[in-house]
Amino acid sequence: MKVTNLGYAIAGKTILNNLCVELRSGQLLFITGPNGAGKSTLLKVLLGQFPRKSGDIRFFVPMDRIGYIPQLANTETHLPLTLRDVLKISVDGLLNLDAIFKLALIENRDLDLRWNTASGGERKRVLLTRALIKDPALLILDEPLNHLDSDSRTRTISALRDFLQSPNGLPKALILVSHDGFSSSELSLFDSRAITIGGG
């Protein structure tokens, strides 16, 4: 992905100004900044959901190979979906359980949990599994580490590192938004680049 001189403004307020960034295969682009700085907005501008004011965005992968997990707007659904349902509706054919368990984000006993009663960590891990089983080339995650306990956090970071190491040899890249950041030991696991929004 290559972004050149990207600008975005809403209601006369400049959110992004002349942003330039390049992301290569195997890299993590880490976007951080305080609440309300425009981190999620940047993702929506990159994905074309919000119109950019200036600049150019080029993806070197087809748009249907881009996986995206936005922040949750609601935590519950009216339909009584199980975690198995959430995975089943996301794939075209039958669910490949071996591939799912290989990601080590969820276990067999979790699959029959109801979405509405699963914990925040279980929900986030199943959403990440859902994105990873589609084998995206570029994965864009908005606050995937929010409210995770240490076990869920470790499993999530480990799955993301495995994703970038690309076991099938295909190019992979990751864009991740987080307001609380990575520890230096977590960051050392990745070939990463960082952008701070709203912090100069």
């Binding site: 959901q49 748009m63 249907d64 881009i66 995206y68 997990i69 936005p70 922040q71 949750l72 707007a73 609601n74 935590t75 519950e76 659904t77 009216h78 339909l79 009584p80 979906l81 199980t82 198995r84 349902d85 959430v86 089943k88 509706i89 996301s90 075209d92 029959d112 109801r114």
Partner: protein, 280 residues
């Protein structure tokens, strides 16, 4: 038996339409569109009345006007509500009250419509002509076929719209919206507002209290409840002459669902208590 033979097509068409609406309603409720559907339905009802008042009983005009008015209501909902997320329900309540007042105004302008308005509201399932029954049956069958054939895609959309407030990737919700629209307008015109709203939301709300897990089981229960209570309520109203058809169906649905939930709860507590009793 004579009454049953006479209304056989009405029962079959009503039962199938009820089942299709129940599955549709489960998805609409998940997409937070129940109040909007109530308004769009009321818009369709105003359209039916305008069609009848302006063009007389020319066969397809009420249906065409139902489409036009419900489209306008849908457009209003989409464009105004998206700018005022916080007061969404208040806006829907305002819109519903305005359309309700509009329906009464139209019926007072055309006095011949008063009887028809009551029918459109409380249902004219028993008075459907054979041709109308077959049309209702065909539309319901097509709707069911679409909902069954695309269930994964539709459930994925409902899930993403419910938890993210948006679809991930290219939006494919247009086809679902069109099918929902067609089913809604046909149902309002041919089987009435009360039957439509009852079948859309009663089964899914009642079955959400069930301990049954999984989306397929929930959708099957909604379909089964709407279909069987339409058949049972219809037959009951035929033999108990003073009972109007659609309100009877609505209360049969409620009673059947409560019985199901009570039996389920009893069985569940029995099987949960059993190991404890053995240990004691």
């Amino acid at each position: 038996m004579f009454l049953l033979d006479l209304h056989l097509w009405n029962i079959v068409a009503g039962s199938l339409m009820g089942g299709a609406l129940a599955i549709l309603g489960a998805h609409l409720a998940t997409r937070h569109r129940a109040m909007q559907t109530l308004c769009v339905g009321q818009g369709a009802l105003v359209g039916v009345l305008v069609g009848l008042g302006t063009f007389g009983f020319a066969h397809h005009m009420p249906l065409i006007m139902a489409f036009v008015f419900s489209l306008i209501t849908f457009w209003l909902c989409e464009h105004i509500v998206h700018r005022r997320q916080a007061s969404k329900n208040a806006f829907f309540a305002f819109l519903f009250a305005s359309l309700l007042a509009g329906a009464y105004l139209i019926s007072s302008l055309f006095p011949a419509l008063e009887q028809h308005m009551t029918q459109v509201y409380f249902g004219d399932l028993a008075t459907l002509t054979s041709e109308d029954s077959r049309l209702t049956f065909s539309v319901a069958l097509l709707g069911l076929f679409y909902l069954a054939a695309r269930w994964k895609e539709i459930t994925r959309q409902s899930f993403e719209l419910a938890i993210f407030g948006q679809e991930i990737g290219v939006s494919r919700a247009k086809a679902f919206n069109i099918i929902a629209f067609i089913l809604l307008c046909f149902a309002i015109q041919y089987v009435g507002f009360l039957f439509t709203m009852t079948c859309l939301f009663l089964p899914t709300v009642l079955m959400s209290f069930s301990s049954v897990r999984g989306v397929s089981a929930h959708l099957f229960l909604c379909f089964a409840l709407a279909s069987t209570s339409t058949v049972t309520g219809f037959i009951l109203s035929l033999y108990l002459g003073r009972f109007p058809t659609v309100p009877t169906i609505a209360y049969v649905m409620l009673v059947m669902a409560l019985c199901f939930l009570a039996i389920e709860k009893t069985l569940t507590s029995f099987f949960i208590k059993k190991p404890g009793a053995q240990a004691g």
